[in-house]
C-alpha cells in the first residue's frame, strides 16, 4: 500500500493505482475522457491533468512539479524510505490547484471549439461527460469565432451511428476494437483537426468493413460524448426519465452484470455493469439487444385453454381447474415436470418442491433455449449455452432426494409416454426440433408456462402466462458458479404472473404445503436445503454476487 497525500486527504491506495482511480476511491473527481479502466491509456485528451509535488533540492522544499501530469498515466508506488516526501508520503498530488483548474478550463475550451453544442437533440445529453465536466470545470463562454468543422454523420454498422461533429477523438472506441473485441474495424482518418473516426472505406466512400461484431454496442457505452449512438435507443427517451435496476443478462450462461433501464411502459435498454470476474465492463450485442421480447405486443397476457382445437383466452381459475383435474387423475409416474434454464433458481426450487412433495414424481426435466455458437474475443467470451441459469436450474431441480433431472433424448423419450407434462419454458421464440416436437405431440396433456407464443405453446392444451427476467426478482447461477441477483423492473403484462407463484398456486390447490411470499424467502429455503448454496441468500449476494464454493 502506498501512502499518498491527495489534496488535503492522507490516504492509502494499492500500489499500481493511477491517480484517477485513487481519487475516485476517495470521492474526488478527476475529469477524464480518453482514460477508461478497461482500456490502455494514451493520455491524449489531457483532461485529467493534476499537479504532482516533488522535492526541489535548491529550495530544500516540496514544490509543485514544473509540468502538470496526466492522472491516468501517473501510477502510485511505494517509495523507498529515503525517497519519501516529507518523511512519510509516497506521493503528493493536488487535483484542485489554480494551475490544474486553469488547465481543465483550457482543455475544455479546446474540446468545445468544434463541438456543435447540440445537446437539445443529442441522445447523450444527461449522461454526457462533456456536458457534465463543462458544467463543473469549464468556462461559461467560448472565445472561438471561426467556422466549426462539420464532418459527416456516418452509419458504421447495424446498431451504431457516428455523429462525427460531436466526437472529441478520445479514441476509446478504436482501442476497444483493438484490445477487447480484437476486430479493429475503427480507426482514425485524416490528420490534425480533421481527425475522424471511421471504418475502412474505398476511395468513393463505400464501406469495406462494417462495425459489425458482437461487441460493437460497447463502443456506444464507452463513448464519453454523443458521437457514437445506438440506433436501437436513438430518440427513444431522455436518460433522466429512465429508472435503473441492477440485474443480470439472460442471454447466455456468462451472466454479464447489467443495468436495466426502464420506464413504466417497458424496458428501454440494457447497459453493462462492471464485474471484475465475469464481464469486466462489457456485454455482447445479443444480450444488449435481446430485451425486445419483454416489450412485445404478442406477450401472453391471459391463460389459454384449448377449446375445439383452438387456444382460447380464459381466466386463471378456469385454467387452473383444468390443470388440477388432469394432474389429480394421472399417476405420479405419468407426470413429467420440466423446469426452465431461463427461470430463476427460485422458480425452479418451487417447481422442484411441487414435483417432489406434492406430485410425488422424481422425474424432472430441464428445458431452455437451443445452444448457439460460442464467440471468443481477446478479452470476452460469448458462451454457446443461451440460458442464463442452466447450472442453477440443474442443481436445484435435482436437489431433493431421489430427483433425476432428464435432459435431451432421455427427457423426450419420457415425455412421449407421459400423460401430463408441465413444461415451464420462458424461452422466447424457441423453435422445436423434430424429436422434441413429436414427443410433445405424443403427450396426452401438455401444460406450457411461457412468455411469448411459440412452437411450444402451439402444442399446449393449457398455456399459462409467465414472466421474463425483467419482471421478477430472483437469482441466476452462471456457468462459472456465480450466483447473482436479478431484480423486478416493470410489472408483468396483463394477467401474467411470476412463475413460482403460478407453481405455488397449483401446489396449494393440490393440497401442498407451500407458502412463500417473496423470492427472498425462497432463496432462504434454497440456502438451507441445496448443497453449496448455503450463502446464496439475497442478503448475502448483494450487487456483486457470490461464487459457489
Amino acid at each position: 500500500m502506498a501512502f499518498i497525500k491527495l489534496d488535503d486527504l492522507e490516504v492509502e491506495v494499492e500500489d499500481g493505482t493511477n491517480i484517477v482511480e485513487a481519487a475516485r476511491q476517495h470521492g474526488i473527481e478527476v475529469p477524464h475522457y480518453c482514460y477508461h479502466p478497461g482500456l490502455s491509456r494514451p493520455a491524449n485528451c489531457r483532461m485529467c491533468l493534476v499537479e504532482p509535488h516533488v522535492f526541489f533540492p535548491p529550495a530544500g522544499a516540496i514544490v509543485p512539479d514544473r509540468q502538470l501530469a496526466t492522472a491516468c498515466t501517473t501510477v502510485v508506488r511505494t517509495a523507498p524510505p529515503d525517497r519519501k516526501l516529507d518523511g512519510k508520503y509516497d506521493f503528493i498530488v493536488r487535483t484542485d490547484s489554480p494551475r490544474v483548474k486553469k488547465a481543465r478550463e483550457d482543455i475544455l475550451e479546446f474540446l468545445l471549439v468544434h463541438h456543435p453544442l447540440d445537446c437539445p437533440v443529442c441522445d447523450q445529453a444527461g449522461e454526457c461527460d462533456l456536458q457534465d465536466f463543462s458544467h463543473r470545470h469549464g468556462r461559461d463562454k467560448s472565445r472561438y469565432l471561426e467556422v466549426k468543422n462539420v464532418p459527416p454523420k456516418k452509419d458504421l454498422g447495424p446498431d451504431v451511428l457516428l455523429y462525427s461533429t460531436r466526437c472529441i477523438v478520445c479514441t476509446r472506441c478504436i482501442r476497444f476494437g483493438e484490445e477487447v473485441s480484437g476486430s479493429g474495424e475503427l480507426g482514425l482518418v485524416h490528420r490534425g483537426s480533421h481527425d475522424e473516426i471511421d471504418i475502412p472505406r474505398s476511395h468513393d466512400g463505400t464501406p469495406l468493413q462494417l462495425l459489425d461484431n458482437k461487441l460493437a454496442g460497447n463502443v456506444v457505452d464507452i463513448c464519453p460524448v454523443g458521437a457514437l449512438i445506438s440506433k436501437d435507443f436513438l430518440f427513444k427517451s431522455r436518460p433522466w426519465f429512465l429508472e435503473q435496476a441492477d440485474s443480470v443478462c439472460s442471454g447466455c450462461s456468462v451472466g454479464c452484470n447489467i443495468t436495466v433501464e426502464y420506464k413504466a411502459d417497458g424496458v428501454y435498454r440494457l447497459k453493462p455493469r462492471f464485474h471484475g470476474d465475469i464481464n469486466q465492463h462489457w456485454m455482447c450485442d445479443d444480450g444488449r439487444l435481446g430485451y425486445h421480447y419483454v416489450n412485445s405486443d404478442d406477450r401472453l397476457q391471459l391463460p389459454l385453454k384449448r377449446v375445439d382445437g383452438e387456444l382460447t383466452p380464459t381466466h386463471w381459475a378456469d385454467a387452473l381447474t383444468v390443470i388440477i383435474e388432469k394432474l389429480s387423475e394421472a399417476e405420479a409416474a405419468d407426470i413429467v415436470v420440466i423446469g426452465s434454464a431461463q427461470g430463476t433458481n427460485e422458480d425452479n426450487y418451487v417447481l422442484q418442491q411441487f414435483a417432489h412433495d406434492v406430485l410425488e414424481t422424481t422425474q424432472l426435466g430441464l428445458f431452455g433455449q437451443l445452444p448457439g455458437e460460442e464467440h471468443k474475443f481477446p478479452q470476452f467470451t460469448i458462451e454457446a449455452d443461451k440460458n442464463p441459469n442452466t447450472a442453477g436450474a440443474r442443481t436445484i431441480l435435482g436437489s431433493a432426494n431421489g430427483n433425476v433431472v432428464l435432459e435431451g433424448d432421455a427427457l423426450w423419450e419420457k415425455v412421449s409416454g407421459a400423460k401430463v407434462v408441465y413444461l415451464v419454458s420462458g424461452a422466447p421464440e424457441r423453435p422445436l426440433e423434430d424429436a422434441e416436437k413429436s414427443a410433445l405431440e405424443n403427450a396426452d396433456f401438455l401444460i406450457v408456462q411461457d412468455v411469448l407464443p411459440s412452437e411450444v405453446t402451439q402444442l399446449a392444451d393449457v398455456v399459462l402466462p409467465g414472466t421474463t427476467f425483467a419482471e421478477k426478482d430472483g437469482t441466476f447461477t452462471n456457468s462459472t458458479g456465480w450466483v447473482q441477483r436479478i431484480r423486478k423492473t416493470i410489472d408483468p403484462p396483463g394477467e401474467a404472473r411470476v412463475d413460482w407463484e403460478i407453481t405455488q398456486q397449483l401446489a396449494k390447490q393440490l393440497g401442498g404445503d407451500l407458502n412463500y411470499h417473496f423470492a427472498g424467502e425462497i432463496a432462504l429455503a434454497i440456502a438451507e436445503n441445496v448443497p453449496g448454496y448455503q450463502d446464496a441468500t439475497h442478503q448475502h449476494i448483494g450487487d456483486a454476487g457470490i461464487k459457489l464454493a
Partner: protein, 491 residues
C-alpha cells in the same frame, strides 16, 4: 571575417565521395577501424560524454548522457537514425545523405560498437528520394566490402542497417512519433516517460540520433576529445549548484536562408553571433535586419536588438529561443511579421498529428486568428489586462498597472499559451510540437506587437520600419527575463 571550418562537410564536394573507394581515399572508415582496434566500447561512450557533443536534431540534449540512460542488460537494443529532416529552414542532413552517405554509415558503426547495437534503422524523409537512393547504394556497398553484416572486419561485430522512408509527416521527426511510424503505426508521439532510451522501437531500448550527431562521431574518435572540445564555447551552467560546465563544442551545420546574399549550409564553430553568421553568408540582402529565426520555424524570433546573440545551444536558451536544428532564416525590412507568422502557423496547423486535444484544436485556431488579423479582419475592440514588467520586488511579474490590448492579440497569446505556455515552459500536450507552435506565435506577437496592432488598426497588412515595428527589450517580457506568474512567484 569568420572562416568556415569544414569537418563534416570537408570532402562533400569531392567527386564520387559517395562511393566506397573514394570515401576510403579520404580517411573513410579509418576512424571506425581505429575505434575497434584501440578502444573498448565503454571508452567510446566516455569520449562522447567528454566531448560534450549535444544532439543536433533540435533539443540539444547531451549525446553521452542519452547513451548512459540506455540499460546495458536489455538486448536487443536499437539505433534509430533520424533523417526525417523536415523543419522549415533546415536542409543540412540531405547533403550528407545525398553526397557523403558513407560518413553516416561510419558514424552509425561507431555508435553501434559503443552501445553494443546490432540493428539500425535510418528513418529517412520520404521526400529525399535522391538521398534514399544514394544511401541505399552506400549501404549495399558497405555490405559488399564487409563493413556491414555479420562479423565485420573479423571483429565479431554484427551490424545491419535498414533504411525506411517516411510518408511525409513533420511529426515523424519527433523521436517517439518516428518510432511509432517505424513500427508501422500512425505517426503519433508517445507519452514520456518511458523515454526511447528505455522503451523505444518494438519496446526495446533505443538510441535515437540525428544524422548530424552521428556524423560527428568519426571525428571525435579520429581526432580525439581534446581536438573536438577546442571548437565552440563552454559555459558554466549556473542552474546547477555548484555550476557545472555546459559545453557547446564542435561545429554546427547552419542552414542560412532568407534575405542573405549567399544562402546555403555553412559549417561553423558553435558560438558565433547572428551578425557574424550573416556576414559569412555573403551579407544581408536589403537595408536592415528586421528579424532572425535562429533554429527552424519553431524557434522564437530574434529582433535586431538581439543580433549579438551567440548562436549556440546555451546562449539561445538564455535568450528564450533555441538553436534547434540550426535553420536560420534572416528577414530584412521588407518582410511583414504578421505574414511570416501566418505562413508558419499554416504549416503547423496542417502538420499537427491530432493526437492530443490542445494541439489538435488549438493550432488551427491560432492559424485562424492570425489569418483574421492578416486579412485585416482583426477585431479592434480592446481589453484591459494586467501589465507585466519589473515588479516592486525587482523580479519580473505583475506591475500592478494595466495595459490596453487588442482583444484578438490577447486571444492569440492566450490560445497559444494554452497549448503550451512559453512563459513557464510547460505544455499541456503530449510532445513538444505544442511549444513549437506557441513559441513563434507568442514571440512574434510580443516582439513585433506594433506591426500586429497596425494590421488590426488599418485593416490590412502594414509593414512598419524596423525601428517602429519592434518593441525594445526593456519594455517586453518576450526577451530574456523569465516571467513568473503571480501564484508561483514564491517558488
Amino acid at each position: 571575417m569568420v572562416e568556415e571550418r569544414r569537418i563534416l562537410y570537408e570532402h562533400l564536394d569531392v567527386p564520387d565521395i559517395n562511393t566506397f573507394d573514394v570515401f576510403c581515399q579520404y580517411d573513410g572508415y579509418t576512424r571506425f577501424e581505429k575505434a575497434i582496434a584501440e578502444y573498448q566500447p565503454e571508452d567510446i561512450a566516455k569520449m562522447v560524454m567528454d566531448s560534450g557533443l549535444k544532439g543536433r536534431g533540435g533539443a540539444g540534449f547531451s549525446t553521452g548522457l542519452k547513451w548512459s540512460f540506455v540499460p546495458k542488460d536489455i538486448k536487443p537494443c536499437y539505433l534509430c537514425c533520424n533523417a526525417d529532416e523536415s523543419e522549415p529552414g533546415t536542409f543540412s542532413n540531405r547533403y550528407v545523405l545525398e553526397k557523403n552517405p558513407h560518413l553516416l554509415i561510419e558514424g552509425i558503426l561507431i555508435c553501434c560498437y559503443a552501445m553494443g547495437i546490432e540493428t539500425t534503422y535510418i528513418y529517412i524523409r520520404g521526400e529525399f528520394t535522391l538521398g534514399k537512393k544514394m544511401l541505399d547504394a552506400a549501404i549495399k556497398e558497405a555490405y559488399e566490402k564487409g563493413y556491414l553484416g555479420e562479423n565485420i572486419r573479423g571483429t565479431g561485430l554484427n551490424v545491419d542497417i535498414y533504411s525506411h522512408p517516411g510518408a511525409g509527416a513533420y511529426i515523424c521527426g519527433e523521436e517517439t512519433g518516428l518510432i511509432e511510424s517505424l513500427e508501422g503505426k500512425r505517426g503519433q508521439p508517445r507519452n514520456k516517460p518511458p523515454f526511447p532510451a528505455v522503451e523505444g522501437v518494438f519496446g526495446k531500448p533505443t538510441v535515437v540520433q540525428n544524422v548530424e550527431t552521428l556524423c560527428n562521431l568519426p571525428f571525435i574518435v579520429g581526432n580525439g576529445v581534446e581536438w573536438y572540445t577546442q571548437m565552440g564555447p563552454t559555459y558554466a551552467d549556473t542552474r546547477a549548484n555548484p555550476p557545472t560546465p555546459d559545453p557547446n563544442t564542435g561545429t554546427k551545420l547552419y542552414c542560412i536562408s532568407g534575405d542573405v546574399n549567399e544562402p546555403g549550409v555553412y559549417e561553423l564553430d558553435l558560438g558565433l553571433t547572428c551578425t557574424e553568421l550573416i556576414e559569412v553568408a555573403g551579407g544581408l540582402r536589403g537595408e536592415e535586419v528586421k528579424a532572425v529565426i535562429p533554429g527552424g520555424s519553431s524557434a522564437p524570433i530574434l529582433t535586431h536588438y538581439e543580433l549579438d546573440t551567440r548562436l549556440d545551444f546555451t546562449s539561445l536558451t538564455l535568450a528564450k529561443s533555441m538553436l534547434g536544428s540550426g535553420g536560420i532564416i534572416v528577414m530584412n525590412e521588407t518582410r511583414n511579421i504578421v505574414d511570416c507568422l501566418l505562413n508558419i502557423m499554416k504549416f503547423y496547423a496542417h502538420e499537427s498529428c491530432g493526437q492530443c486535444t490542445p494541439c489538435r484544436w488549438g493550432t488551427p485556431w491560432v492559424r485562424d486568428i492570425v489569418q483574421r488579423i492578416a486579412d485585416g479582419e482583426g477585431r479592434d475592440s480592446t481589453i484591459t489586462r494586467p501589465k507585466f514588467g519589473i515588479a516592486e520586488n525587482g523580479r519580473w511579474g505583475d506591475t500592478g498597472e494595466t495595459e490596453e490590448i487588442y482583444e484578438d492579440l490577447d486571444l492569440l497569446e492566450s490560445v497559444a499559451n494554452n497549448i503550451a505556455n512559453v512563459d513557464t515552459m510547460t505544455w499541456n500536450t503530449i510532445c513538444v510540437f505544442g511549444i513549437a507552435v506557441s513559441w513563434p506565435a507568442v514571440s512574434y506577437m510580443r516582439k513585433f506587437r506594433p506591426e500586429f496592432e497596425a494590421a488590426i488598426r488599418e485593416g490590412k497588412l502594414v509593414t512598419l520600419p524596423v525601428a517602429e515595428a519592434t518593441v525594445p527589450p526593456e519594455e517586453n517580457y518576450a526577451y530574456q527575463q523569465r516571467f513568473v506568474p503571480q501564484e508561483f512567484a514564491d517558488l
